[in-house]
Symmetry: C2
Subunit: 207 residues, 2 copies
């Protein structure tokens, strides 16, 4: 048996193992990260470590929309400039960041924290579905936009949520799906292409 | 100007920035790492953070060979089974790990901590050259093997070190360079191929 190449230092081995626990990071990359830390001044590494520690310990979920935030209510939900009658329902924190990065959406969000997936043991009670219904119940919400994935779990969740919301006077919509802007038709998958024809819209020329 | 997509949480932003300071890690990957930490139990993240912190604070350089280690002298330099009269000179910690991973080398090491590179402000005094000379001066060393890179800086360092060592009764050698085992001649670069012919060795059949 070959000797462990990291044997010279248990501390190095522990650091490499920790980095290798990150998604998509193998032993070689983990070693690279660890040796990088070793070359940094002590204060830099202290800042590195304390930033990650504080992030995990202090970050919380917005009481309203479940987005992560440093306070009780997130800056989006606190912003009086945003349209609080328009709620975009997404699966994850990352989805909010993606939509915010466009800079175009001026409504608010509701982060479900996942989708209904019996295979993964995720039922409706694991998600923030009832919190969304409570928001709609206030009568302040005009429209709920579903921005969930189009796989089986996403569709199931959209349908389940629709059934919960249909009792209230609120418009339920879903984001447009179709051939992406700038994409060639020949490279679009058949489902996307056929749906983009079925869901065609009136042409409005930019004059 | 677009709003900062990470604005919902300064803590997230700080964590992403720290991860993005690792080599080869962009903002997207850093965000992925940060959100991964968020999904882990608090104890897992504490272990993650403390392992990195302890690594940086407690790891040290071997008093003999400058390899990183958890004690004053590294396990390789402490190992009575290894040949302490044979020293392989390398640039970095990583080089030691690579050679150790082969499991074939039974001598000891000397880690220079870099190569002479006036462009980067690295002169002989920044490296552990005099420490190597001290080891040779004891008279216990029979052979020093250079395993430095073949670029200008590596060659300069090898030559400088050779001049320092030539005064002592020690054999100075360098690792074999040539076409790799299993490599096709047609893909070898011209320098490697021509040197591999010039430095040919007697054929010794495996009987």
């Amino acid at each position: 048996m070959r000797p462990d190449p990291y044997a010279p230092s248990q501390l190095l081995q522990a650091a490499v193992e920790q980095f290798a626990s990150l998604p998509g990071v193998g032993k070689k990359t983990a070693l690279r990260y660890a040796l990088h830390l070793l070359k940094q001044p002590q204060e830099r590494v202290s800042l590195f470590v304390s930033s990650l520690d504080r992030f995990r310990k202090e970050v919380r979920h917005c009481r309203v929309c479940s987005m992560i935030t440093d306070e009780e209510v997130c800056p989006i939900c606190r912003d009086p400039q945003r349209n609080h009658a328009l709620i975009c329902v997404v699966e994850s924190i990352r989805d909010v960041l993606s939509i915010e990065a466009t800079g175009e959406y001026r409504g608010v969000y509701h982060v479900l924290g996942g989708v209904i997936s019996p295979m993964d043991g995720i039922g409706p009670s694991e998600l923030t579905l009832s919190e969304l219904v409570e928001r709609v119940k206030t009568g302040q919400v005009q429209e709920v936009i579903f921005a969930l994935s189009t796989d089986m779990e996403g569709e199931t969740t959209s349908f389940y949520l629709y059934k919960l919301l249909v009792a209230y006077p609120v418009t339920v919509s879903t984001i447009a799906r179709g051939v992406g802007f700038g994409d060639d038709l020949e490279y679009a998958d058949q489902l996307t292409l056929s749906k983009s024809i079925a869901n065609r819209q009136l042409f409005t020329p930019n004059l």
